[in-house]
Symmetry: C2
Subunit: 323 residues, 2 copies
């Protein structure tokens, strides 16, 4: 167990540094990028030489964010005073940049995932926070840094995406309190919402239609299963990434407790599973060499799609016979 | 223009009454039912003889709410001290119960729609509130009535549904502040979210798939059009009500500014249109004898589906040539 520092300690360390490089996890999502962008902007406003270091382009739906402080240039700062990983606390979540991270004279880590490694000097980990953006919000308050519009918008992106627009079970009274205060900082709420939620690609929508057309209810309607084949993707010139949201649509069906979505990839079948309330999907995933959480898990089956479908359907039927 | 009363006046009138009948609008949505249920429960907790009077069954997705104080019995209270319409302020929004409303010794009205009629004695109308439930929240605070769990859950249903889970442009800093305080009252947030958002019917999902399969982008991707025929509904034993959410999916496509959804009904075609940000759809609706708002409007075309589709597509192409 890592001994947590306080936000005051974190703030004092950042205040005393001249140059800071910020590390989000690979494939940064809204919370990783939003938290890093907000922190970077705030540190620059305080006169620091601060950068967010990435090893890839920013994903489509987050391109609208103000990211002029993001760089893929590993030499953006030589021998930084502080390297800080944000929304990730294991080196294998930013392995391509881990060597640069170790260059930092002081190494910090801020996260709301509780799977922290032991490579840093100071940690602030709080698994009770809905989003890392909530921690950054509190850190900036603690440092007495003004949360101006751009910072507030980045924090809002983090909180809104990691809570599924205030629907996920991680949402708390404090989440709404912080959101209220971000509105008070003058965020352009509609700009953010349109970019985050009303900008689904045409291909995604086409694929969703095709995949939902294949769905099947089993176990008396308590499970929904569907799949996508390489041929279905080719028909729409789409990629597996265009199908990511479908599993939520399966789970959102009334009466469905477990959703399973099967994706053909390189001759094997990747299985993603989600549970709604009382169901759990980790045991089926583990049985086939996969893993995950109680409510979200997956595995890879080395067999053709029709066999994989039959296997998962049978496992789901058995699941309700066993509980 | 109606002269608004204060919440204090409203509270004093309700306090001084013994019997109160509460009137939501027809086909009550989450805000109408949530606001009425919260007010009714609060008044009963204060020892009043209070009822929510409906003239129909509660819609499927709101059935989970605690509605033991809802009745369709027009004689639930004879000669009530107060009749109060909530989330509606025109008699034609509850015409089947209007006569009963007039029986009230004092007639009140609380709403966030600004289209108030002039049939009541006292009004509290505030179009700046995201939901009527926000007004009820403030009223109960003003009356110093404890907002216990059941009341808070009803208010949360109103706020969450009328703001589209905190995404619509009516959402404000105060909306989040109130949501935060409702969490503090002990709401079962996940129960509410699962019932409101994760309980889409299988038929709805099937219809969505079928309708999205028919969608077409026009005007260089700035408009999306799709349709449902009676034959498509029959194939899934579905009704038009199972297709209501599809128009949002069309509008949510990246680059789409206007979505049009055409529904075959009794040999004619009902057209619903939505705009995302800068677009407006009222002028096309008005041109064909319909109406609505800038961002949401509709009309009925007395022609076969193929002609209606061609007409709407042509109107949408023209729209961008004209602006």
């Amino acid at each position: 167990m890592i001994s947590n520092s306080s936000l005051r300690e974190m703030g004092n360390l950042l205040r005393s540094a001249e140059s800071i490089v910020i590390f989000p996890h690979e494939s940064p999502d809204g919370d990783a990028l939003g938290s890093c962008a907000a922190l970077c902007r705030a540190l620059r406003n305080e006169g620091k030489d601060a950068w967010v270091l990435l090893d890839e382009e920013i994903r489509g739906y987050l391109e609208f964010m103000d990211t002029e402080y993001c760089t893929t240039d590993i030499d953006c700062v030589s021998m930084p005073d502080i390297c800080i990983c944000v929304d990730c606390s294991e080196e294998n979540r930013f392995s391509g940049r881990a060597e640069k991270f170790r260059e930092g004279k002081t190494k910090l880590c801020i996260d709301h995932h509780v799977t922290a490694g032991s490579f840093g000097d100071f940690y602030y980990i709080d698994g009770g926070e809905a989003a890392t953006a909530q921690i950054i919000y509190k850190l900036l308050r603690e440092m007495d840094i003004e949360i101006e519009k751009t910072i507030a918008e980045s924090l809002y992106v983090g909180i809104s995406t990691d809570t599924g627009s205030f629907r996920h079970s991680n949402t708390t009274a404090e989440t709404h309190m912080i959101a209220s205060q971000l509105f008070g900082c003058g965020i352009d709420h509609q700009k953010l919402v349109i970019n985050l939620y009303n900008s689904v690609s045409y291909k995604q929508t086409r694929m969703e239609s095709a995949i939902l057309e294949k769905m099947e209810l089993i176990a008396d309607g308590k499970a929904a299963v569907s799949y996508v084949t390489s041929a279905m993707l080719e028909a729409e010139s789409a990629e597996l990434g265009d199908c990511e949201a479908v599993i939520d649509r399966l789970r959102d069906i009334k009466g469905v407790e477990i959703a399973a979505f099967l994706k053909e990839k390189n001759g094997a079948v990747k299985v993603s599973m989600r549970a709604k309330s009382y169901g759990r999907v980790d045991s089926i995933a583990v049985k086939y060499g996969g893993g995950g959480h109680v409510k979200a898990a997956g595995c890879t089956l080395d067999m053709p799609m029709d066999e994989a479908l039959a296997l998962i359907k049978s496992e789901l039927e058995d699941y309700w016979n066993d509980i």
